[in-house]
Symmetry: C2
Subunit: 198 residues, 2 copies
């Protein structure tokens, strides 16, 4: 694979992500993507296998970035409460660096599912990654309670609350791109964890 074709593929993925973000996967046609890249839709198929292939190539890498990130934090020797703070900072950074791909995470994964019993395991792989992340997040949260840093709150509500804000951050950030990252980190850590500290 030449450097040029790699760049072309990257461009197709980037343009697709932006279109999927704006209208959703289902409402974005292969012709829309081809227009954005500047070629005919038939030519796209020299670079991609299918429309769903594009979605996989966006969702699986970003899910792996999340998992790698939380794994690394978890391996550290930090107290659990500081792990949670670092996870929030990491999610902010992932969002700032990949806003279009991140925007697909909350809802577009449903379109990875093809009809019955395809040989396509992208859906299952994505769900596994998401569940792994959430489980680890909850584990660390529980540990922070056990260590006495957090009140013994309703864990599932608290984790939902934190994660739903972080998953939507791409949307707020798009309208406030000039904000200082350190301020964003400080404010979100206060918003999301402040009410739960002992």
């Amino acid at each position: 694979m030449t450097l040029k074709s790699k760049n072309r593929q990257k461009e197709i993925l980037a343009k697709s992500a932006r279109l999927f973000r704006k209208k959703g996967y289902a409402a974005t046609s292969v012709r829309d993507i081809a227009d954005a890249v500047g070629m005919k839709s038939a030519s796209l198929y020299n670079h991609i296998k299918s429309k769903e292939d594009i979605l996989q190539s966006l969702l699986l890498p970003i899910a792996k970035i999340y998992v790698t990130s939380i794994d690394e934090v978890n391996k550290s020797n930090l107290p659990a409460i500081e792990k949670l703070e670092q996870i929030i900072r990491d999610q902010i950074n992932i969002t700032i660096e990949n806003p279009d791909a991140v925007s697909l995470v909350p809802d577009q994964w449903v379109f990875l599912k093809n009809d019955e019993s395809d040989d396509n395991y992208a859906y299952d792989e994505y769900i596994d990654l998401r569940n792994y992340y959430e489980k680890l997040f909850i584990d660390i949260f529980q540990q922070a309670i056990a260590e006495g840093s957090l009140k013994s709150v309703h864990i599932e509500i608290a984790c939902f609350s934190i994660l739903s804000t972080l998953r939507r951050l791409y949307s707020w950030y798009a309208r406030h791109r000039t904000i200082d990252k350190a301020i964003l980190e400080k404010e979100l850590i206060m918003n999301l964890l402040g009410g739960l500290r002992k």
Copy 2:
């Protein structure tokens, strides 16, 4: 209009909302809706004007419910901090009572937009309602800071954080329908406001 046809329309709206929630507006076909209701797609058009008409009939009423609710809270003589607590309780109740319609609020409004300069103002009306709600929410939030109940935090980040969690509550609630509402209210108020109190 007979009682029967009114019920039929309600059923079409309810079934549509559930389908739109599951796959999104764009990926749901008129045939899908007709199947769910138990008729042919052509027959649906005796009850609805168009597919987009259904979306309007779901989104505009729920947006008006939100606005009516926050207006009423705002008219009260409560301190601003208690207004915020009541707004959170109201949003929880609206979500519990209309989970399918509420699920469309974050992302599906984009499909109210037809091509250029249609005589369709549903999109503008929806955006106006949403902006009105957000502006009022921010006003009350600022007032709570002015009254000394909340720290002088970054207002836009804090309001985004609170609202993004409440807008996604339908999703968490679907998996935890047995939770006691009073607990949900207490925990969410703590999660969302706790870190900001003076």
